[in-house]
């Protein structure tokens, strides 16, 4: 009994440690005073101001547009790549896998600067497109690495059975393999989405004029101090991601139950 109690306290401490800063941020987004040290009463004015600030809403728009487009495209490319890599011969497979790992291990600043140099060299004007391409590039490996383990645990005979029953290879992939790996595709997509959402370094180097995401906008506020509107915005973002996660968790749970927990 005592042991369980200690375990619970330990878990509680970890959760507190992880979430206390976010909780503080949420509480202070309702603070009437501009201070981050003093409570000046409850207000919703930062939420209202946030929507009226042209620079913040523009950055929010670009952040979401880039994150959504980049993660969708990266998920499509990454899924196809993972299926391809899965059926490769051992030697090519390890070679391709190592190449895939590179961007994950590479420091962001190297990826950012090299992409910028590349874009300038090929004459692509820095802006929305260059930032989007950069985000897709660093997202793809995460999607692949999320899907590959699931693929190797799949029963390969289901695919062959589909072919035996008259399915075209494309149909077999679409109707048999994709549904099986769907949970991993979704987690890969979510990971890509969150990575893209808060990326600063790579975006900083690959963006052009008039296109900034939230992290860049917040960074440029350092001279004058971070505006309280940013607390409000961060709260909104945190809550949206949380709700998204809850929905997806709920869904996958239902699915595993429906499948009778055959695949773990």
């Amino acid at each position: 009994m005592v042991k369980r109690g200690i375990e619970k306290i330990y878990l509680g401490l970890i959760i507190l440690f992880l979430y206390a800063p976010i909780l503080t941020l949420i509480v202070f987004s309702f603070n009437d005073s501009k201070s981050r040290a003093k409570w000046g009463g409850f207000t919703l004015k930062w939420y209202k101001n946030m929507l009226n600030d042209p620079l913040i809403s523009k950055s929010l728009y670009y952040t979401l547009a880039i994150a959504l487009l980049a993660s969708v495209i990266a998920t499509i490319i990454g899924t196809l790549a993972a299926i391809g890599i899965h059926v490769m011969r051992k030697k090519t497979k390890s070679l391709v896998l190592n190449v895939t790992y590179m961007p994950v291990l590479n420091p962001d600043i190297v990826t950012g600067i090299s992409l910028m140099l590349f874009f300038v060299a090929v004459g692509l004007k820095l802006g929305f497109t260059s930032m989007l391409i950069a985000h897709i590039t660093f997202n793809i490996p995460y999607v692949i690495l999320n899907i590959l383990p699931k693929l190797s645990s799949l029963n390969k005979f289901t695919y062959e059975a589909a072919l035996d029953l008259g399915a075209h290879p494309m149909q077999a992939i679409w109707k048999v393999i994709i549904p099986e790996i769907m949970p991993n595709i979704i987690t890969g997509f979510l990971l890509a989405f969150t990575l893209s959402l808060d990326d600063f370094v790579i975006s900083y180097f690959t963006t052009g004029s008039g296109v900034t995401n939230l992290s860049i906008t917040i960074y440029t506020m350092t001279r004058r101090g971070i505006k309280p509107e940013i607390n409000a915005l961060s709260t909104m973002l945190f809550l949206s991601v949380l709700i998204l996660l809850l929905i997806i968790n709920n869904r996958t749970e239902k699915q595993t139950k429906k499948l009778g927990g055959s695949n773990v």
Binding site: S33, K34, S35, R36, A37, K38, N52, D53, P54, L55, A65, L68, L69, V72, V120, L126, F128, G208, S209, G210, T212, T217, Y219, T220, M221, T222, R223, R224, G225, K227
Partner: protein, 354 residues
Amino acid sequence: MKKIVLLLTSLMLVLTGCGKNVETDPNKPLAGTTIYVYNWGDYIAEDTIERFTKETGIKVIYDTFESNEAMYAKYKSGAINYDVLIPSDYMIEKLISENELLPLNFDNIPNAKYIDSSFKNLSYDPQNIYSVPYMWGTLGIIYNKEMVDEEVDSWNILWDSKYKGKIIMMESVRDSFAVALKRLGYSLNSTNKTEVDEAFATLVEQGPLVQAYVMDQVKDKMIGEEAALAVIYAGDAVYCMDQNENLGYAVPKEGTNFFVDAMVIPKTSKNKEGAEAFINFMNDPEIALNNTEYIGYSTPHTEAKAMLDEEVRNNPDAYPPKELIEKCEVFVDLGPEMTAYYNDKWNELKASLR
């Protein structure tokens, strides 16, 4: 899947769907053109750009930076052809010396006449041909009224052993030497090695009293009441005083450094007339007032200052009296030899404190 496709298409539509409608209005000769503006983050009233576009028809692509150096790097990379930059004094001096700026055509900027003459012909732009000042502020002392009873009006208080361990200096060669040099009555751009040595000796003497040499953390430390006195720029002081009402700010009577952020047009500009229209608009009395009220820094614009609340306008810390301003100087590039000398002395100081 269908939903995702739908979402994507609608996003694409939003991204590309902003059509252009160019009007030919004789009052808006530059309507339909575009300018690229590069300014400090959160350094303009929120509605200014919208109003500019409404009035002139010129579209503004607006970017922000966090330091002069970041601005310089981005500008020099040549990736974007900016039309208006708003850097600080020493950076303008550097840009001028590298032939990066275009002379302004003041016929297109009639509102420049409102700029206070104390802010014209400053050392970074001695003939007043490249820049129009936007905001300015002083280097001074922020203090906690609960911990400091006496009046703060001189740099000497930073050498008072009563405040041992409660003093914060800046982690910056030029700013720290500016304090020491001004206290001794010398120019903060001194190139006389004896004067610099003398200032260095006083900084060493002050060393044991200093709690820390910091840059940005000074704000948190003063708001959190971890120190009694700190060297700080007026803009940051305004921010701290907003957060903690026990804090006060003073400009020492010996004089100090002041910075000016000014609008310039770099030679990459493809729409110089549009850029000049923007600078002129920024100096419209009402717009200038709106900006200084939003930012909280001091304005060099006479009309805007006259329209400010009496409390702000007559606050000697935000707008020091003329005699005091005359004792203030902007930083001047010292040349490689003296810069190295200052840096050596600074390193020697930091080493002596270890």
